[in-house]
């Protein structure tokens, strides 16, 4: 009843080209990057500006209709999965670069601007935006903020959080929060960390000011091939112990190497158990000495004759294999399920061995791609979705891998977010009082629980269902509402 009313109100408020309700028009929005979950949205609203966003939020607030915010829809955890009785608020029309300041090295943009287009817009000024999730050609900066996206350069340049200076956020109550700005500090408590990575649960970001970095004058990529994972892991530790913070440090296992090589022909050694890709950047002198030292350390840990790529073309070729690892794995298996746990780096050997054991137990293959610099592990579980049992085993294996990550002091999601996908493992990572604290934080900005309900934070009921956790019933207001 209220949904129909909300649809009518939105239709009478936004121009017709900004509202989609026909099933053929809304079909492309039924899933994001996690395609196993699908839900056709009853209405898609495409606001042109902040005022349109505010109008849609006001209507949702007044009618009590849920609202799910979506950027480019490249998210990998189902965070933008539509609500069956809600509005899907798609921000792709808000794709204007508002201001570029090449003296202060900042860019202020609307949320629908793609990650890569920021760097492209400032390339002629020798600047760039550092976080580079692999979907950067398509993903939007608003989505990056919602997920606190990473990429391959996080160890040195940080996550989205470390590169955002200011946000404008619209709350469902109709307030605009202006957080930060284009400086480093501001009066008052800093709320930016609460909104970065909040997966659309607290508000809608309508403007983002990011920090731009000077393009490093020199880069070099090194490739080392190792006979076993442990040696490669020790090599990583040795590089960091010698005081080098590489711009990128990636590891791939045998199955991932072979798949990537067959697909991208990057020139990876097909017989290696593990390869390490290491990028250093900076001033010419710093890069020379760092690259020399890394090359020596690779050799000392058993990688004979590391390859050194100094020219852009050769560097790109080496990266191409790594960046194509996911589609490459997609070629050797009908389906794959990408995990996103993070572990303290020193446990890598142990974890990979355990993953191999678990894979054998579930009779599945796993290819491992690892952001070795920051401990973010992407095991790709190979399966065939046409076989229900394989799908079930793949999901089971995924949960066991994430539980393993939590056990060694890691986390269930490094950069892909919780969305709808990781609600179960969240119950292993957080206690009941911690989840309750999250609920109370959400209520601060969204007391009626309309912003992206059912995502990111599992309800206590959900956790008790999967692990027999005790729930104090009736403590939350509106217990009938589907929360978080």
């Amino acid at each position: 009843m209220s949904l129909e009313f909300a649809i009518e109100l939105i239709k009478s408020t936004l121009p017709s080209e900004c509202v989609l309700t026909e099933p053929t028009a809304t079909a492309p929005f039924e899933t994001d990057g996690l395609t196993a979950y699908r839900q056709r949205p009853p209405i898609v609203a495409l606001p042109r500006d902040t005022n349109d966003v505010r109008q849609v939020l006001r209507i949702c607030h007044e009618t009590g209709v849920p609202v799910v915010t979506r950027g480019a829809g490249t998210g990998l955890s189902g965070g933008a999965l539509p609500h069956e009785k809600g509005v899907l608020l798609v921000l792709t029309k808000m794709n204007r670069i508002i201001e570029i300041d090449d003296v202060g090295c900042t860019a202020t943009v609307q949320p629908g601007v793609t990650n890569l287009s920021i760097s492209q817009a400032v390339a002629d000024k020798n600047l760039y935006y550092a976080p580079d999730p692999s979907s950067q050609i398509a993903c939007s900066i608003g989505g990056n903020v919602a997920e606190n996206s990473g990429g391959v350069h996080c160890l040195k340049y940080g996550l989205t959080l470390h590169n955002v200076l200011g946000l404008k956020v619209q709350t469902i109550e109709g307030d605009e929060l202006v957080l930060g700005g284009n400086g480093y500090e501001h009066a008052g408590v800093g709320l930016i960390p609460l909104f970065v990575g909040s997966e659309g649960m607290l508000g809608v970001v309508t403007e983002v000011t990011v920090k731009l970095l000077p393009t490093p004058p020199r880069k070099e990529v090194l490739l080392g091939a190792f006979d076993d994972v442990e040696s490669a892991g020790e090599c990583v530790a040795a590089i960091i112990a010698r005081g080098i913070v590489p711009a990128g440090l990636e590891m791939m296992d045998a199955l991932a190497i072979q798949a990537a090589e067959d697909f991208a022909h990057a020139g990876y050694p097909r017989d290696a158990a593990t390869i390490l890709l290491c990028e250093v950047d900076g001033t010419s002198e710093q890069v020379s000495s760092d690259a020399q030292l890394i090359s020596e350390l690779m050799e000392a840990h058993g990688a004979a004759n590391p390859r050194r790529a100094t020219e852009a073309e050769e560097r790109d070729r080496l990266w191409q294999g790594r960046k194509a690892a996911f589609p490459a794995v997609g070629r050797i298996s009908p389906d794959y399920y990408c995990m996103d746990g993070t572990i303290p780096r020193r446990h890598l050997g142990k974890i990979l061995a355990r993953i191999a054991e678990l894979a054998t137990k579930h009779e599945l293959r796993v290819a491992n791609v690892f952001h070795a610099g920051d401990g973010n592990l992407h095991p790709l579980i190979l399966y065939d979705a046409r076989d229900d049992d394989q799908l079930h085993r793949a999901e089971r294996l995924g949960v066991e891998i994430l539980e393993l990550c939590v056990q060694v002091g890691g986390t269930v999601t490094g950069e892909h977010g919780v969305g709808v996908e990781k609600l179960d493992p969240m119950c292993s990572q957080f206690s009941k009082p911690e989840l309750e604290q999250f609920f109370r934080l959400k209520e601060v900005f969204d007391a009626s629980g309309l912003m992206n309900p059912g995502k990111a934070i599992p309800t206590l009921a959900h956790c008790s269902e999967i692990k027999g956790m005790h729930v104090h019933g009736g403590k939350l207001p509106f217990p009938e509402l589907d929360r978080f």
Partner: protein, 341 residues
């Protein structure tokens, strides 16, 4: 070196007792930042006995520290492994605890290059105003599970809860650190400082005071030598100046009157006349002044400013949500209840 001791049980019990009796508590570390973060009414809850390194893995670039541990001791342990904190919080009067550094969130002169305390925090263990012991974030660089409570605590002055321990990023210590100084008029100095943001260089701190521009260069021998060309007329001077600016022992901070911080957007220049008594750091983005000496500092729309003792109010809308946030963590308003955010 202080002997490590785990005082968490007493701290958790004290808050539990306060909750049961609806008694207010004032969280206290070493009280070195009392000019910035005032003590609150209620019994003092001391963190000074909750000290020690819980875990330090140099090759993971992380350290886990109990809140009462002196910043200096953490810095010393890191230095022994050729590492430093990935932020540079002040140590007023030479002291200060890690918990206090997180609760206050203040940054030294390397802020634009090394980041602030918030950037360095990976996770916390805390006690909220219900007496619940909670963990948020973790020990790893990448972690997007749940709301980012650990970084929200940075600068929250203890009103969201007592910080028990903190996991922080650390970084390799630069091989060489060198300081150059030269006399320069403000306009030229400002352009030189902006250049240190816009171009890759070994600059890791700037300070402009009394007509002199100071630059800190950090890195290996070659990159520091390369960056020295930014200030061709620069003379080498002692590196102590950075500690003095960070810890307010620099002569500038000996003035009477109300100390004020003003923040300028990156690329936004403060309009200063020649005889203005100010100290500017962060490539022009943070300006210190004393009320009576520099009432002429022109503040424009790109500027935010507050007295260092924080005797001003927040924008009204934010404060509505901040009030609710306090309630979400501390519904009975028992922790640092008089402290205004």
């Amino acid at each position: 070196m202080t002997i490590a001791s785990d005082d968490s049980k007493r701290l958790v019990d004290a808050i539990g007792h306060a909750v049961a009796n609806k008694k207010q508590l004032s969280i206290v570390g070493q009280s070195t930042k009392s000019r910035y973060a005032h003590s609150s009414s209620g019994d003092a809850l001391q963190t000074r006995d909750h000290v020690g390194i819980i875990e330090y893995q140099p090759d993971e670039l992380t350290i886990s520290v109990r809140a009462g541990t002196p910043i200096r001791e953490v810095a010393d342990i890191l230095a022994a492994n050729d590492q430093t904190l990935a932020c540079d919080p002040p140590r007023f009067m030479g002291g200060g605890t890690i918990g206090g550094a997180v609760a206050c969130g203040l940054s030294g002169p390397g802020r634009p290059w090394y980041g602030n305390v918030r950037d360095a925090v990976l996770g916390v263990e805390m006690v909220n105003g219900l007496g619940e012991q909670l963990r948020f974030g973790g020990k790893v660089m990448k972690n997007v599970a749940g709301f980012d409570v650990s970084r929200l605590l940075v600068g929250s002055l203890g009103v969201f809860g007592l910080i028990l321990s903190v996991n922080l990023r650390v970084q390799p210590k630069p091989q060489i650190e060198r300081t150059l100084v030269t006399d320069m008029e403000w306009d030229k100095a400002w352009r030189a400082m902006c250049g240190a943001i816009a171009k890759p260089s070994a600059v890791t701190a700037t300070c402009y005071c009394s007509g002199s521009l100071y630059l800190r260069l950090s890195g290996n021998r070659a990159s520091v030598a390369e960056a020295s060309s930014i200030l061709p007329s620069g003379l080498e001077t002692a590196n102590d100046v950075w500690e003095q600016v960070r810890d307010h022992t620099h002569a500038f901070f000996n003035n009477e009157g109300q100390l004020r911080r003003s923040w300028y957007g990156r690329g936004k220049k403060a309009q200063l006349s020649e005889d203005e008594h100010v100290l500017v750091e962060w490539a022009g983005a943070q300006l210190w002044s004393y009320e009576q000496a520099s009432t002429r500092v022109a503040l424009d729309a790109n500027t935010d400013s507050e007295p260092f003792d924080r005797s001003v109010a927040n924008p009204p809308i934010e404060s509505k949500y901040v009030k609710r946030l306090r309630r979400a963590f501390d519904p009975h308003r028992l922790l640092n209840s008089d402290v205004r955010l």
